[in-house]
């Protein structure tokens, strides 16, 4: 099998499993809605733009970590062994990454809608905000997939997932918060916006390329 067809097969397998169980999608929706609802109750409609923005990314970050933990950590080692014999490691990491990208885009969309519904609209440049959101979601997905793969090799992987991923996510998160702060006051893409976007996209490419190269070393027992 070629790499592309392997990736496609593994990707559709993950998607089918998900559509059958609907575990991740439902838990994500519930997680986002309940945390935003708690924020809505706590702020009682008296929220300012800056807190809105920070809250948005923090809730998205934690939801993303929760969702991505599923990709490697929650699978049994025996199943990993099965995949190991079945396909190339590059295909596995890429399939997981694409699947997580889909999941994160969905998650980002849900968070966006729920935030606008409950906490009001503070965004001036929706296009700028959504661009940040899309590239941010892709970046979260690739980083968290790789960290999930690293964490799954250890014993207590749930706590390790948070410790390992937060420092790696910080450059993304800082640039994204700055970018969406811009979107709260303006709608045109200025120089700073392009700079921040290129940092996010560049980092994302680095993470994807490194994962592609390094995952085989993680994979063999």
């Amino acid at each position: 099998m070629t790499l592309a067809s392997e990736i496609k097969a593994l990707f559709t397998k993950d998607l089918k499993l998900e559509l059958r169980q609907k575990y991740a999608i439902n838990s994500i929706i519930l997680y986002v809605v309940s945390t935003v609802f708690v924020a809505y109750l706590a702020y009682q409609g008296d929220i300012e733009a800056r807190s809105w923005n920070v809250l948005f990314w923090i809730i998205l970050l934690f939801a993303a970590v929760n969702a991505a933990t599923k990709s490697f950590v929650q699978e049994r080692p025996a199943r990993h062994l099965y995949y190991f014999w079945l396909s190339s490691p590059q295909a596995i990491i890429m399939a997981k990454m694409f699947y997580n990208m889909l999941l994160m885009l969905l998650l980002a969309g849900i968070t966006y809608v729920v935030f606008l519904l409950f906490l009001g609209n503070f965004i001036v440049g929706h296009l700028l905000f959504l661009t940040a959101l899309i590239f941010g979601a892709l970046g979260f997905a690739s980083t968290l997939t790789m960290v999930s793969a690293i964490a799954s090799r250890s014993d207590n992987n749930f706590s390790l997932m948070a410790i390992l991923s937060f420092p790696l996510m910080l450059p993304f998160l800082l640039s994204l918060i700055k970018l969406s702060n811009l979107a709260l006051s303006q709608s045109h893409f200025n120089l700073l916006a392009w700079q921040l976007l290129s940092i996010v996209v560049g980092l994302n490419l680095i993470v994807i390329i490194l994962s592609f190269i390094l995952f085989p070393y993680l994979w063999k027992e």
Binding site: I150, R153, S154, D155, L164, P171, Q195, L210
Partner: protein, 228 residues
């Protein structure tokens, strides 16, 4: 003992001491430009050196991690780990010297500044590396997982120390407008002390790393002997 090979392999060790003695004596005695931060400007010979030493050590650790992944020898993993440990030591020293300096010049030991936060985050990644090492019991697996994470950590270090601070506009720390965080506004006489000081700190850091690596090798050799 005094053949050419021995001298070539070891001359940099006493050289680091010489350079640092020069850096300390000259650093405190030369006349410096009259800026509004007074004599604390002399800290540039020591504070900046810590970060250059850290960069050298983390680079060495990064290279050994790549070597481990390509060759699979445990000695490379041990060297990568030691590089991070010594690097963290110099990073903490860098933060302490920076905080003492900041207390004099800015009035507070820590401000919300991209340079400072970037340094803190980079150290955090390497602490996470140490936590990861302690979380994987099997030695071979630990070496592989740690090497992979170390490569990511080095990228984060480069981003946070090399790229993001230069893009920042609101910073107190020197080196954003003029582009380079290390070589700020120094006159020619200060540079005569600064460059040897930096070299001296880097060499000293590599010497410490070298000693630790050799101690670790003796330890593992002794363990093997006991097993036999």
């Amino acid at each position: 003992m005094f053949n050419l090979k021995y001298i070539l392999r070891n001359f940099w060790k006493p050289l680091s001491i010489l350079l640092l003695v020069y850096a300390i004596v000259a650093g405190f005695s030369i006349s410096i430009p009259d800026t509004n931060i007074g004599d604390t400007l002399r800290n540039v010979f020591y504070h900046v050196g810590m970060w250059f030493a850290l960069l050298a050590l983390m680079t060495s650790s990064f290279i050994h991690s790549i070597r481990y992944l390509s060759k699979g020898q445990m000695i490379d993993d041990s060297k990568a780990n030691e590089g991070v440990l010594v690097g963290l030591f110099f990073g903490i020293l860098g933060i302490i010297t920076g905080m003492i300096w900041a207390t004099f010049t800015w009035g507070v030991p820590w401000t919300n500044d991209p340079h400072l936060n970037g340094a803190a985050v980079s150290l955090l990644v390497y602490f996470a590396y140490q936590v990861l090492r302690s979380a994987v019991p099997d030695a071979e697996k630990k070496a592989r997982v740690a090497a992979v994470y170390n490569i990511f950590a080095y990228i984060i270090l480069l981003v946070f120390v090399g790229i993001l601070p230069r893009l920042s506009t609101n910073t107190l720390h020197p080196g954003s407008a003029d582009g380079n965080p290390a070589f700020g506004d120094m006159d020619a006489q200060m540079r005569l002390v600064f460059y040897p000081a930096i070299l001296g700190w880097i060499l000293l850091a590599l010497w410490i790393l070298n000693l630790r690596n050799r101690a670790r090798k003796i330890e593992s050799d002794l363990q093997e002997k006991e097993m036999e």
